[in-house]
């Protein structure tokens, strides 16, 4: 009866016609019987549009998932030649000689880690300092523009950092900073060799500028996630502002560590700026002034020049190692940040 009413409403001139009579009969027949068709079997109570939409978005979500898997697989399958030829020697020998087709990646792995860790050594205290300033000290009117400026720093293309490095930072290091350190510490192994400007020190400084915004912005979020009751409790005990900040920092320890590790992940994979200032020589040296090389720089410099299959596959293996290292660093970092932010929810 209800259905008839609706029908009559939606199609006024339909009423009274022969078709209407037929439809009425149809409803009478199907009354009380649940019709099961192919469509109702799949859909249940769902709208067909809903189902298509859900599956479509699922498809794209799966695409993102498979993309990562595909990336790993592509690099593995394209580097099997090198993996079979060199095996573990690829990681622990230090001759990188494309002419003789001998590839040992130790110097570039060393260069990657040392440059990134040096960068963190500079960026970590600064980044935490900025985060403390933004989250604990700065008044509202100052916090917003300052956060914007640090984010702007993160938005500058890495090739522009490199350009600035070549023409501003490197000459300054070569003419003033490096001779100064050589005069101050003539016997220190850290400052041996000719002061070219291009080298580990320049790379570490450029990298530290580049990872600073990541460390500071994530640390700020972590510090802000610590609830105010913690601060109020410390104030109530008569703590000074710095002592309150210490309480907050110790509460956010693992999150801050995570922020630093995210910075490390970025530094390890950073390519252009480092390639432009590090000097690009696969050598292991204790001196900060000597040129070095990183995994990403090797790829940037040599990939288009690689002619033999073994050379290309060695380079792709390098990319695979870089891929695995950055994924592991990132996973660890995310878990750490997550654990702190989660604690207070």
């Amino acid at each position: 009866m209800e259905r008839r009413l609706v029908l009559n409403k939606t199609a006024g001139d339909f009423a009274g016609s022969r078709s209407e009579y037929k439809l009425q009969n149809f409803f009478k027949k199907s009354k009380g019987k649940k019709r099961v068709t192919f469509l109702t079997k799949i859909l249940g109570n769902k709208n067909i549009g809903d189902l298509i939409f859900e599956r479509l978005t699922l498809l794209f979500a799966m695409l993102v998932f498979f993309l990562v898997v595909l990336m790993g697989w592509e690099m593995y399958s394209n580097s099997t030649l090198s993996i079979k030829t060199f095996g573990l020697k690829f990681l622990i020998t230090s001759t990188w000689d494309p002419v003789a087709e001998v590839f040992g990646a130790l110097p570039v792995i060393y260069g990657t880690f040392v440059s990134s860790l040096l960068a963190l050594l500079i960026a970590f205290p600064l980044g935490i300092g900025v985060a403390v300033f933004l989250a604990e000290l700065a008044p509202g009117w100052l916090e917003k523009p300052l956060s914007f400026l640090t984010e702007l720093l993160a938005g500058i293309p890495s090739v522009i950092y490199g350009l600035w490095g070549i023409f501003v930072l490197v000459p300054w290091l070569r003419d003033s900073v490096e001779p100064f350190f050589q005069n101050k510490f003539p016997n220190s192994p850290l400052f041996q060799g000719a002061p070219y400007g291009f080298g580990m020190l320049a790379a570490a400084i450029i990298l530290s500028i580049m990872v600073l915004p990541i460390i500071s912005s994530i640390s700020r979020d972590v510090l802000k996630s610590v609830p105010n009751t913690q601060r109020e409790a410390a104030y109530a005990l008569g703590a000074t502002k710095w002592e309150v900040t210490k309480v907050v920092l110790s509460n956010a320890k693992s999150g801050l560590l995570g922020a630093t590790m995210l910075g490390l992940g970025r530094a390890i994979g950073e390519t252009m700026a480092v390639t432009m200032v590090i000097g690009n020589r696969p050598e292991i040296s204790a001196s900060l002034l000597n040129p070095s090389y990183t995994m990403a720089s090797v790829l940037a410099n040599e990939f288009t020049e690689a002619t033999s299959d073994l050379y290309i596959s060695a380079l792709i293996e390098l990319a695979l190692i870089l891929f695995i290292i950055t994924i592991m660093v990132n996973i660890l970092a995310r878990l750490l940040v997550w654990s702190t932010e989660r604690k207070w929810k």
């Binding site: 990562v68 595909l70 350009l163 990319a319 950055t326």
Partner: protein, 287 residues
């Protein structure tokens, strides 16, 4: 009392000094962060502005030794590369972000979210290597398409996560209002939820696009670079960032100067891009 506890006063001053010193250090750190930003902008503008003229935007690069010339091919090339990247990356990002927020409250959703984060941490040069093995090797030559695909992969995580976060901000009552009117769920998602969240999503897209415009590493061995005029997406194509890299590492003074101009042009291009994008999204989706 004072005489009895001389340590008390000492500790009091020590605490106050520590407070002052540490807070000043924190302020100092904030100031130091701003210094490189000022430096980089100052040098890019002051060194780049002298060569920034009409020729730069209308002429092709000149051969080595000849002064003058411009980078019109690189500017157009960069725009084409971003367009390809956006054309692939934006729909994938929005759709997967929609999945995560609307249907992603299960194990697969957590997995996808996790993989999106993983993807955002992968170095851009590695993405370039993968685009090389996936597109350049089968096609047997470098192409703008390969570069665009690399840029798309780099954009996807940003757009996905922003879309998810922005959709989550849409109040549940909006959806309920739609359901009360008997609208199917997919229409509610597309026409009410996505439209409400559009401004935030557009910011995410903008972020993805401007980052892609500044990428160099994934383009080095995918789109390669081209000294001539080309808009064919199956051929190598020029881009501003690759030019900046090549011109700054070359031993010619006028090339180095042009690298600064290209850097300034790149910053201008990104600013114009964000401006145009903001105008488009505002006029079209204003409530």
């Amino acid at each position: 009392m004072e005489m009895k506890f001389p340590m008390k006063k000492f500790i009091f001053y020590k605490r106050r000094t520590a407070n002052f010193v540490m807070l000043s250090l924190s302020l100092l750190a904030a100031l130091i962060t701003i210094v490189p930003l000022v430096f980089i902008f100052y040098y890019t503008i002051s060194k780049g502005i002298s060569n920034l003229n009409i020729d730069f935007f209308t002429k092709l690069p000149t051969p080595v030794g000849e002064t003058g010339g411009g980078m019109v091919n690189a500017i157009v090339g960069t725009i084409i590369l971003i367009a390809i990247g956006g054309g692939i990356g934006i729909p994938v990002g929005i759709m997967s972000g929609t999945y995560l927020s609307e249907f992603g409250k299960n194990k697969f959703g957590i997995l996808v979210r996790f993989f999106t984060d993983v993807l955002s941490g992968i170095p851009s040069i590695v993405v370039g290597v993968v685009a090389y093995t996936l597109v350049v090797i089968p096609m047997k030559h470098f192409s703008a398409l390969a570069g665009g695909i690399a840029l798309a992969i780099l954009m996807i995580p940003t757009i996905t996560r922003t879309t998810e976060e922005m959709i989550k901000l849409v109040p549940q009552s909006y959806r309920e209002a739609g359901l009360a009117l008997g609208i199917p769920k997919w229409k509610i998602t597309v026409m009410i939820v996505l439209k409400t969240a559009w401004k935030g999503i557009a910011t995410g897209i903008l972020l993805g696009l401007s980052r892609a415009a500044g990428e160099t590493a994934p383009l080095l061995f995918t789109s390669l670079g081209n000294r001539f005029w080309s808009t064919d997406i199956f051929q190598p194509i020029a881009s501003l960032t690759v030019y900046i890299y090549q011109y700054s590492t070359a031993p010619f003074k006028d090339w180095n100067d042009q690298a600064w101009t290209a850097a300034l042009a790149l910053i201008l291009l990104i600013s114009v891009l964000s401006l145009v994008f903001r105008i488009i999204t505002r006029s079209k989706y204003k409530a």
